[in-house]
């Protein structure tokens, strides 16, 4: 048998295949297709201190090999999550990770402190890379100074596993990765969506209510892979690879480039059972290549 287990700081994952925040709801929706305990972990829908209605419709535009979204962190706020959603999902037998958002450092801290009280949430993913909100979000993730401040303050407030989700909308992603590592992040996950745009030529109108939105899907995979490779070479903490992973082969490419684990996201919209196919595909690959453990793949790029 092959060993699929992976460790991300204090998190023990049964396999490296996790579900990306904003693409798997609060785990229940994917659990309606298959037993969610089979995946390595679930990054829950981005959560803020207060209720957010998100952006206006339309929020989505299909693109070549991908899609743009401008959801804008619609969620009912952390207290609603704690009172109504958490009790329903807390016993899923897989790590549930809250994706923490804020428009100010103070909001990030408040959400973190509330989530810290939850026994069955072993980690948070600090989202400093959402491109669809007017305040906060990506603003923190595109400057070393912003990333430094919010990571430092949240680290002070939180002793469980802290993962920071990075934005690709920067000149040098390794610079941001090194800064958050320096402030005590236990892992980095990358990448969030690329800022993009779509126009309806017939009407001359933007296809998104917000004009710009985040691009995801296979269209961004080579860019994501490059960034994962760069960051894995620049930091010592484990890297979680995200960006257009549609199948096992894509996932394996990210592991070889330096990721310890991966998240599949937009692929779930097309195929909600894709995580199972990726897990099986990784197993087959390890057997075919006579590897005992998936960790042997991480950073094994032949140069």
């Amino acid at each position: 048998m092959v060993d699929l287990r992976v460790k991300i700081h204090k998190l023990d994952l049964k396999n490296p295949v996790m579900l990306a925040s904003g693409t798997c709801g609060f785990a229940e929706e994917i659990n309606s297709f298959f037993d969610i305990s089979k995946v390595g972990g679930v990054f829950l829908k981005g959560t803020t201190l207060n209720n957010r209605e998100g952006n206006n419709y339309p929020r989505m535009a299909e693109t070549a090999s991908g899609m743009l979204n401008a959801v804008g962190l619609q969620n009912k706020g952390v207290d609603y999550f704690i009172d109504y959603i958490y009790p329903r999902i807390k016993n899923y037998n897989t790590p549930l990770i809250v994706n923490v958002n804020g428009s100010t450092v103070d909001e990030y801290i408040k959400v973190t402190e509330k989530v810290d009280q939850l026994e069955h949430i072993p980690a948070i993913e600090l989202n400093i890379s959402c491109p669809n909100v007017k305040e906060g979000g990506m603003a923190f993730g595109i400057s070393p100074k912003g990333a430094k401040t919010v990571t430092r303050e949240v680290r002070r407030a939180y002793s469980k596993t802290l993962i920071v989700k990075l934005s690709p909308n920067v000149t040098d992603i390794t610079e941001i990765a090194k800064v958050v590592e320096g402030e005590g992040a236990d892992s980095v996950s990358l990448i969030n969506t690329f800022l993009g745009m779509s126009v309806n030529a017939e009407t001359r109108k933007p296809r998104l209510s917000t004009i710009t939105g985040g691009l995801s899907g296979p269209a961004i995979k080579p860019l994501a892979l490059r960034m994962v490779w760069q960051v894995a070479g620049a930091v010592k903490i484990p890297v979680i690879g995200i960006g257009g992973i549609m199948n096992a082969e894509d996932a394996i490419e990210f592991l070889i480039a330096g990721a310890s684990a991966i998240q599949t996201g937009t692929a779930l919209f097309k195929n909600p059972v894709v995580p199972l196919e990726i897990i099986d595909g990784i197993k087959d690959y390890l057997l075919r290549h006579n590897l005992k453990s998936v960790s042997e793949l991480t950073g094994s790029l032949h140069l």
Partner: protein, 258 residues
């Protein structure tokens, strides 16, 4: 949460209904779960790389004995254009069953369906599935012109049909909301169901509100996932922004901010 599935269906046949509409009948690889009128599937042609996302379609018919599920594909853009061209033996992947169904009428109620375009599919399904006698069911089906109407002869036993065309080439000349049944007899109905172009549904809803009659509409907001995770298909409602795919696609007009 109810169980959902993603499976490959085999195309049994594809019958052209009019210039832009196609009736696609598919065989399910395993026994179909109960599916009610108003629910939908999210479809993609297997291994089609040109279209990235799936396309949602109301279920038009279920044949549990043969394990067939049918949809009506109306060509609106690139995705539906691809799906309209499938032939016997092709494979379509469906995510199903999705969304909430219409509130089925109770016995003895008199109901009115108002449909246009691809909105005819869930109307006919509900007329057939609701179990009411023919006399209790009226359907107003609207189209631009005679050629845009589809043949509904198989459904004559389930309700009394009334047709409208914008140009008067078939049935009543004018919009569905101008039909005499809407103008004079609306109060005789207990429930109204509408599915079709947004402007049509809004006009129907306005009449229903005036007469204080129960009215449900089925919305067609564009969506990515179809099962409530992408949060792209939202409709502003009195309960906040709700996903059309999971909280709808059927909404009581009292919940909408129309």
């Amino acid at each position: 949460m109810e169980k959902r599935f993603v499976d490959d269906f085999l195309v049994i046949d594809n019958i052209q209904l009019n210039e832009n509409s196609f009736l696609v009948r598919m065989f399910a690889p395993k026994p179909l779960p109960e599916i009610k009128a108003g629910q939908f599937v999210n479809a993609e042609i297997k291994d089609c790389r040109e279209i990235f996302l799936r396309r949602p379609f109301s279920v038009f018919d279920i044949d549990y004995s043969n394990n067939y599920l049918s949809i009506i594909v109306k060509i609106l853009g690139r995705g539906s254009n691809q799906l309209a061209r499938v032939i016997k033996g092709d494979t379509i992947s469906l995510i199903y069953p999705l969304g909430r169904s219409f509130t089925y009428p109770s016995e003895h109620e008199k109901i009115l369906f108002i449909g246009g375009g691809s909105g005819v599919a869930p109307m006919l399904f509900l007329a057939k599935d609701c179990g009411l006698p023919r006399d209790n069911v009226d359907l107003i089906i609207g189209a631009r012109t005679f050629e845009d109407h589809i043949n509904v002869n198989d459904y004559n036993g389930y309700g009394k049909f009334h047709f409208t065309t914008d140009d008067g080439t078939y049935g009543f000349e004018g919009l569905v909301t101008e039909h005499p049944l809407m103008k004079k007899n609306l109060s005789s109905f207990d429930k109204i169901y509408a599915c079709g172009p947004l402007s049509m549904m809004k006009a129907v809803a306005a009449e229903a509100v005036k007469k204080d009659i129960f009215c449900e509409v089925s919305l067609e907001n564009s969506m990515a996932c179809g099962f409530g995770v992408c949060l792209c298909c939202i409709e502003p409602t009195k309960r906040g922004n709700l996903c059309v795919c999971t909280e709808g696609p059927v909404f009581n007009i009292k919940d909408l901010k129309w």
